[in-house]
Symmetry: C2
């Protein structure tokens, strides 16, 4: 990363409208990452390398070059990177830019004519053939002298270039020596870093929104607070857990290395049409109801369920989480029970049926009479102000992430405005979209502002499905949509998890922890809770409708907790696992063994050393699988004949691997490898 | 095509900057055809159906709809088309818009909520189940009554909708009958044409530049005017043809059905470093020199070579061409011989070498001392003004197309500005780019304004190459780049043409005439001139460097001329062959037999009838080929079991074909079929 100038730059591109033509002197087109020419910004987090690409070329026979320029939220140039050609013949260039703070950044690409490169190409043909020798070398000497004046060239570098120019110009010298002086490695290296650029032509600037690192990287743990510390006695029936008992339970979660404590809704719960256990239409006495049926006479989205405690208790929970290194995410489920205070105070925030009654949720022929959806079209400003007030309230009580329930059933411009307004009030607050719906809505929610998105990960189980989906998430989508991978949630228990036993829970945890920088675990995963309510793909005795006291001291829970903790430890130890767009899928011979790697180069990591991790997982929960892995060695920073020490972070074993290792994975004892690549000296890739 | 309102529309979208959010109430994203969000306009010609696509969806469970709106150069809405879903699950919509005049058009897409469709979906579930019967039907009746008020609904249609509403509302009726009244075919048809639209949300407007039809459709014939009527006598040597003798030769060209007469440069030719025959470094006495070495003491780009005649002669040639139904294209080769008047009057328009001399063209180690390239960076305004003057001069003398030689060696903003300025002065003038270079430059030349582009067609010879390339040209590229297909030019004689004999010339003519709406023939094609200068891929005794008197009465020329004339006749008879984006490639069993079709639907053609043409060509110039064709019947407007009369426009034979006809093609007698599809009654595709 070349240092920025540190001062406002007079050469920032002019707006497009002031140009006579849409193309500039040197063509710069198809710049990326750009979404609809900047309708929405590209995204990154602090310290994330952003791959910038552009098509840059010029007229005639001279060569072109390209520079990517990163501009900070203050309008000051933060970095300039020389772009390098991406393959041959298509004039495509690339480099990486790394923003170092949150905010609204921008970037642009400068195309330029490369007089030195053009001269060198021609001189290397003409001088050996004796064509126009003095004339050609004089031009070269002039260019070297001009290159010595390029801003950023040190005095020492300038002196070297000028000395070379003097040799090149010496008409009594051997032409071969004169040419060699202009093409010496140390001269080329200075020119590579500080090229002489003619006809510099900037593209229009494109927006890049930078968030704090948690928007990309995190390990989440989901709880229903009322379950933590809930107790059953035959005398009193169930006694709810509280925010205070939940706070006590945090030590166990933090010990596993989780970063984010996600709380399902903690508000008062309606009683009208309250659902009973297992989604029964009628609740029995003592059934606590679904926390998603928000609102009662005790309050709405701005209140805490009295069984859980008070705002003081909430503040204490947040403080305890912080002490343990965790932040708190709260569910934002914008819907109401019929008992929500808004129903009487603001009936205009709901739809009415033609008989005048307020419309409940429907999916014909099903009716959900316990839920009143909000209508955002009757009094958009009034409802908006109230929701901003609520988000602000919770943010002031230490909530730093909102996990938004079903955002795809609310208007997109509502989210775009809310997230932008919250960014002004609480720059650190993040929004996670729980939209399990069609791709255009999921992608557009990300574009309009959601920092993170749930994904289809739970339904991608075969080798091809997993490999293709992880590659999609890490590809172009990675410039705006940050995925979160959850093996299960309180709503999702796929057939694979229902029937795969403990091996399924182990292998899916390994995939989720390494397949993207953010993963999430729903409480109870440790106990392999895998029995579905018949006819559904969610758990029987679902915690949504009842208390669930769990014994995490059971041996199976101890074993799985150790694995989850190991996975979080490995994620922290390896910066390569904390990035999204650095993924390569490697072919394997076995059709249930998937392999991918993540690599960070020198310039991408805070530490000096590159980091490379290979993940190999047996996706078959019922059988030992074995076969060859065909490693793309270049993607590992190795030459084709390289060998390396493959240190399995899960087992602690170290193997000596070449490009085609043999792997054998037992779903019960070692369902996957997480290999730290430790090159053996002399096998690194050629640095050119 | 629904008629436009014909008056300025108050509901045209506001500019994006006046919106609080980048997304609107209903999401409209990824609208096409759009290039970098409108940095350059999409393109069409008058009467060409433009395929418009967009991703449109809404929040919640209600259905969305989409309307595409076409706005004329006067800002008046010219057409509104209801878009239809493109496949399932991805919320992608499409329709076609047809502009009816040249100019700067625009289009946008309106997303909307579909209350009637949403109601119908739910009612068809609820009414049969007896759920909320009266409530649901009352809502339906209200919606039908509201639909009767939609602008554009006729009084008769409104009466029908209101009558239906009355039946739907009748609480004493059978609910099934009431529902049936709301879903009757005639009701649905009115709603399909005039949907009730809520929350209408326009996208930003996108530019669409519309040119006259010749920009897309034409048959070109290239000549060196000095060759037509040139005579050799042993007494006087060569006597140049003139513009007057060329005019006499036009009858033969027009008789073959060509639309455009393309003249290579007609300006004075330099003598300094003049090239001799076969590109010899020294000219012999009497060698006329290359017309691309422009300029002598007799004048430059604004002059006519004295051997060819005067401006009066030129005007007469243009008039004769017009009388014969042809327009005249002139070469625009912006380079100079050392004798060009600009060299002394405007040395600042050239580059200088470091010894002070003007730089000639080089491609080290080769030198082209007969050519001085222009430099556009020393005095851009002065040079620009002079070139505008020259283009204007020729346009005033009736040139309607400039065939631009090597545009990729001049700056792109120069072309963008020149073509825009010429569009103001001479709206009918078109520019064809002769840029045989890398794809980004070719595509960007099209984007910045060139109306037509030479292509790689001559180098695409195998079945896969031909099929893939024609599909690429007809695909997304078709929204901005209009291809021209030339089997040969004065610069291009590929190995395939050198070695394939008369069959190669026949089959490549068939491909060029049908593979795109514009094709071109270089004079002498009729005589199968296929001998290359050794070591080159252009003709020996190249017309660039000498006179070429041709005897078109030779039998081989008569045969080939008949084929060229037939091809032009077939092109005129079939509107499907006059369009670009309507191509489908069909698989074949033989690896040298290529098959593609072009189809226009009812709405796309000026005439009422659809037009469908299938082209099958044997690409093997040396052997009879035979095998099956696997027709995509849907692309032909037929059902999978359809049969049709396949009328071969080339042979006059008619066959009865189904979806898998057998074909046998002899490269000497029938190298290809051009099949007019004549459906047999009852086999048309289901119109749904």
């Amino acid at each position: 990363m070349a240092p920025g100038t540190g001062s406002p730059d007079a050469h920032l591109p002019r707006p497009a409208s002031s140009r006579a033509t849409a193309v500039g002197r040197i063509a710069v087109v198809d710049v990326g990452p750009v979404h609809e020419a900047g309708r929405w910004p590209a995204r990154a987090v602090v310290g994330e390398a952003v791959p910038v690409t552009a098509t840059v070329f010029r007229d005639g026979h001279d060569l072109a070059g390209a520079t990517a320029v990163l501009v900070g939220p203050d309008g000051v140039v933060a970095a300039r990177e020389q772009m390098v050609p991406l393959g041959r013949g298509l004039d495509r260039w690339q480099c990486r830019l790394v923003p170092h703070a949150p905010g609204e950044w921008s970037f642009f690409v400068e195309g330029w004519s490369d007089p030195v490169g053009s001269w060198r190409r021609d001189a290397l043909i003409k001088i050996p053939e004796g064509i126009d020798v003095d004339l050609t070398l004089d031009v070269g000497a002039d260019l070297l002298a001009e290159a010595a004046q390029v801003p950023g060239v040190t005095r020492g570098q300038a002196a070297l270039l000028e000395a070379s120019a003097a040799i090149v110009r010496r008409s009594d010298g051997d032409p071969r020596d004169r040419l060699a002086a202009a093409t010496a490695p140390e001269v080329l290296e200075i020119l590579r870093r500080h090229p002489l650029r003619h006809l510099v032509t900037p593209s229009t600037p494109y927006p890049l929104r930078v968030a704090r690192e948690r928007a990309l990287v995190g390990a989440w743990y989901e709880v229903f607070p009322r379950s933590i510390g809930a107790r059953f006695s035959s005398a009193h029936g169930w006694e709810s857990g509280t925010l205070r008992t939940a706070a006590v339970g945090l030590d166990r979660i933090a010990a596993m290395g989780f970063d984010v404590l996600y709380l399902t809704p903690i508000h008062p719960i309606g009683t009208t049409f309250r659902k009973g256990r297992n989604n029964a239409l009628e609740a029995s006495p003592g059934d606590p109801g679904s926390p998603y049926a928000i609102g009662s006479s005790q309050g709405g989205h701005d209140a805490i369920h009295p069984d859980l405690g008070t705002f003081d208790d909430f503040d204490a929970l947040v403080a305890r989480a912080r002490d343990l290194g965790m932040e708190v995410a709260l569910d934002l489920a914008l819907q109401c029970s019929p008992d929500h205070p808004w129903v009487s105070k603001h009936p205009e925030w709901f739809s009415r049926r033609s008989d005048g009654t307020i419309a409940y949720a429907e999916n014909p022929p099903k009716k959900y009479q316990d839920i009143y959806p909000l209508s955002f079209d009757n009094d958009p400003e009034g409802l908006y102000a109230e929701i901003v007030r609520i988000c602000d309230l919770w943010a002031r009580h230490g909530v730093t992430i909102f996990r938004v329930d079903n955002p795809h059933t609310k208007p997109l411009p509502f989210w775009e405005r809310l997230i932008a307004d919250m960014a002004t009030r609480h720059p650190d607050v993040l929004f996670l979209a729980e939209a399990f719906t069609r791709p255009p809505m999921m992608h557009t929610l990300a574009l309009v502002g959601f920092h993170q998105s749930y994904t289809y990960f739970a339904w991608r189980n075969t080798k091809t499905e997993v490999a293709d989906y992880l590659a999609e998430l890490a590809g172009d989508w990675g410039s705006y949509m940050r995925p979160t991978l959850w093996p299960t949630t309180h709503d999702i228990l796929t057939p694979f998890m229902q029937w795969g036993g403990e091996p399924a829970f182990m292998l899916r945890a390994i995939l989720a922890a390494t397949g993207a920088p953010t993963w999430g675990i729903y409480s109870g995963y440790e106990l392999i809770e895998n029995v579905a309510r018949p006819g559904s793909e969610e758990q029987i005795d679902n915690e949504k409708y009842e208390y669930k006291a769990r014994d995490f001291t059971a041996p199976v829970a101890q074993k799985m907790s150790r694995l989850l903790g190991e996975l979080n430890r490995i994620r922290r130890a390896h910066p390569a696992l904390q990035r999204l767009r650095n993924l390569t899928v490697h072919p394997t011979s076995d059709d249930a063994t998937v392999c991918f790697s993540r690599r960070l180069d020198d310039g991408d990591t805070a530490s000096a050393a590159p980091d490379t991790v290979i993940v190999v997982v047996n996706l078959d929960a019922r059988a030992v699988r074995e076969g060859m892995v065909y490693l793309d060695m270049g993607a590992l920073g190795l030459g084709p004949d390289g060998v390396f020490d493959a240190h399995d972070e899960l087992s602690g074993h170290t193997y000596r691997w070449n490009s085609t290792p043999f792997v054998r994975l037992d779903p019960w004892t070692n369902p996957g490898h997480i290999i730290h690549v430790r090159p053996v000296r002399g096998t690194e890739a050629d640095p050119t």
